[in-house]
């Protein structure tokens, strides 16, 4: 049985460096940072006061345009805006497709907590050093807003997108931390390959730029702390790297079965050819020292794609700017690609976008598609002091012309869930 082939026919995004694919791409090629002093709430008293915020989207105005999601969190608004761009880009109109063959698979982060009412409920119920549950119930019944609570469920963005585009097929979402939207893309690819749908809207959305999210990551000592130099704070593979920069946003792609896309004369951006998923099965808080899981998922993706490692022309690294990730990822790439490793440009666009957590992989997949379309690889910015343990070609600081036919994207989730994806230039056969 020949496997169904799957192509990318639509893309859309909301990112800290730009809203819309062309703005994202221009910013990445120009090396522009999206890292700023956090303004969505007063973060001045946290150890990390910077983040990669979506600034080019009037979130309230977008909510007003869509009364059906007037209480959605930032994550939900990002998701629908990106999905609308992606679906418009793929050129499908209502009536052109069978709704039962259109599905959705998102890497969807938990929604944004309704922080101040939640805090008031807790404070109001705080007695003798514990929260009195009965008092909390009465407080919360008064203060919580039904829809703002429901919108925090991770399956809500996928539900909204399905309603918007009448997508009645398979609808799934996953939350595997930083790997989520890459995993969603891989699983959506498998849904189409397996003939469970002909078209899938896939991607991710997330915003943890809220007081509880920032607290959680600060406590894990995972975040960069260069509060006075936001644009230089995310510096993957640089000797001075000291943590990732928390970002927010959404990336969405439309995956379509090849013959379905051809039959309607769709514009094909690239072909999705490889998906690999693995687990470190090591420790909750550290990646395996030898990058066991990272090696495995890259190897599986290469096998799935039916290519040789040396065929890969560009790697979009997970490259978080943490001490451990960047060293281990480098090691793993060397183990997988051997002698070819130093010749393959591998950049971390998180140096500019920050880390979009569940949404990161989808935005990085869009970036991979753009490298193929433009034959340009975006840089790793802020790479000024090389780390001897990170000795690959990270495309330091300046975008570069480079022929890219095959691109790989890596995403490694906190907790040890790892994903690699491979796409290839579509040449018409």
């Amino acid at each position: 049985m020949t496997r169904r082939r799957v192509v990318i026919t639509g893309m859309g995004c909301v990112t800290p460096v730009g809203v819309g694919v062309s703005n994202l791409w221009d910013a990445l090629c120009a090396g522009r940072s999206g890292v700023v002093r956090i303004s969505v709430f007063d973060a001045s008293s946290w150890p990390t006061k910077i983040g990669a915020e979506v600034r080019d989207l009037d979130v309230d105005a977008e909510r007003r345009k869509r009364p059906y999601m007037s209480e959605a969190g930032r994550n939900g608004v990002f998701a629908i805006v990106a999905a609308e761009e992606a679906f418009a880009d793929c050129g499908l109109r209502a009536g052109d497709y069978d709704p039962e063959r259109l599905g959705v698979y998102l890497g969807s982060g938990e929604g944004v907590p309704d922080f101040f009412p939640f805090g008031a409920c807790i404070s109001g119920a705080w007695k003798d050093s514990v929260v009195d549950p009965e008092a909390f119930l009465w407080e919360s019944l008064k203060r919580m807003n039904k829809m703002r609570e429901l919108e925090q469920e991770p399956n809500m963005p996928g539900g909204h997108i399905a309603a918007q585009f009448d997508a009645r097929g398979m609808n799934s979402s996953c939350l595997t931390a930083c790997a989520a939207s890459s995993q969603a893309f891989g699983e959506a690819l498998e849904v189409v390959r397996h003939n469970d749908a002909d078209i899938m809207i896939t991607g991710g959305c997330h915003s943890m730029l809220h007081p509880l999210g920032l607290t959680g990551f600060c406590l894990l000592t995972a975040l960069g702390t260069d509060n006075d130099h936001p644009e230089g704070a995310s510096r993957p593979f640089d000797m001075r790297r000291n943590g990732f920069i928390l970002g927010e946003g959404a990336g969405m792609l439309v995956l379509e079965e090849l013959e379905h896309a051809r039959a309607r004369g769709a514009k094909i951006h690239a072909e999705a050819i490889g998906y690999g998923s693995s687990a470190d099965a090591f420790r909750l808080t550290d990646s395996h020292e030898d990058g066991r899981g990272a090696v495995a998922c890259m190897t599986y993706a290469i096998q799935d794609a039916g290519i040789d490692p040396a065929d890969v022309d560009y790697i979009n690294a997970h490259g978080t700017s943490t001490k451990v990730n960047d060293r281990v990822e480098t090691l793993a790439v060397k183990r997988v690609f051997g002698d070819a490793a130093p010749k393959i440009p591998m950049s971390s666009t998180k140096s500019m976008t920050g880390h979009l957590i569940a949404a990161a992989g989808a935005v990085e997949m869009i970036t991979c598609v753009e490298t193929i379309r433009h034959n340009i690889v975006p840089p790793t910015t802020n790479l000024l002091e090389p780390d001897p343990e990170c000795d690959l070609d990270y495309v330091p600081n300046k975008a570069r012309e480079h022929k890219v036919d095959v691109a790989m994207s890596n995403s490694f989730g906190f907790g040890g869930q790892n994903i690699s994806l491979i796409i290839r230039r579509w040449t018409g056969d």
């Binding site: 039962e100 009645r168 693995s278 099965a281 808080t285 040890g416």
Partner: protein, 432 residues
Amino acid sequence: MDRRIVITGMGVFSPVGIGVDTYWQSLVSGTSGVRPITRFQVGDFALKMVAEVPEFKPRDYIPKEQRKSLKVMSWDVKLGVAAAMSAVEDARIIVEGKRVDPTRLGISFGAGNMMTDLDEVGSSFAAATREGSEVDLCVFGPAAMQGFFPLWLLKYLPNMPACHVSIFCGAEGPSNSVTTGDAASLQALGEGCRAIERGAADVMICGGVDAKIHPVCLTRYMLMGATTTTDTKPEEMSRPFEKSRDGFVPGEGAAAVVIEEHEHAKARGATILAEIRGFGGGCDAYAPEKIEPEGRGTRQALQNALRDATLDAGDVDAVFACANGSVEGDRAESRAIAAVFGDGPDAVPVTSTRSMIGYISAAGGLLDVVAAVRAIADATIPPTINYDEPDPECSVNVVGNTALKKELRNVMVSSGGFGGQHAAILVSGYRE
């Protein structure tokens, strides 16, 4: 299914019993797990009847050298891990000397948002709030950095059941955490099947957990007006498909199964409990907070599962529905089942275990898969209890109040709802 996939291990933590045998006996005898809440004091709050999992010692299910992990596990994670490790034990896949290839062992787990323990964050909010004003962020930041414990964030991430289990079992294969609300655990199982079908793994640990007996969740249910307010005995409160129903009873629980490629299971001499023949998904594509009246997402999922199994509706001998006592939800599901399988007294028997275990969103589907496996083995469909007067708008053939003896070849399990996501799994008796 492109390859034959069999179930070789099961684990259950339910409000009507821990362990597959206890759970099954309770279901067949029509035992309700609904009781007054014990986990915390609710006083006069209207929602006070729930279906809680009995006390157990999570440490008994965790390898000795890993027990320090308990400190970073929320109650939800403990339940999920315990169910998964029970299924792993039952399937004997990590027995010394007979361990399955770790790189071919994967995990697919259904879970949802997990709520923070309120006491863990309480002092920081209290310190940052002055009477009559909102939280002062300039005080909250430093207070939270002091007051929350360092790994706080990790304790509540929905991917943690899968991550802990992968570490405990050395499972290095594909790993996913599915978060589609009421459909999550069936979807996790279906996607686990797909991973084996495409050759990415030989064995998958598939589970689901949901534990929303938490003050925040109880308030949400009250705000939605989704829970029953009937003033009857607790065990009579959950009334799927019944005319006087007016909402669900919140439950909690976890279930897991080990699934395996057929030849792999035979080669290692595994005990084969059942076969999974089909998986299908569907979506209402409707305002996600509302109920689509025709149940089109359910219908789509049921039809896709039949197509995947290459079976006809007539081949299915029982349907495990997810009807939980919601007035509109039960009607929508009934309409979808009727559209695919027919209705009236001669149609396929339909049952809802939610009448006994309550509404257990992300775990409900897999709890029913475990029940379906036992139903096939014992040729018995457990009853839908409290089925006093049929609702004419729920016209399916409900197995009311007493278990039904019947030979079962193929059983359909349906789960979905809030958010619009639906999934269905077709379980069949195993034949060589």
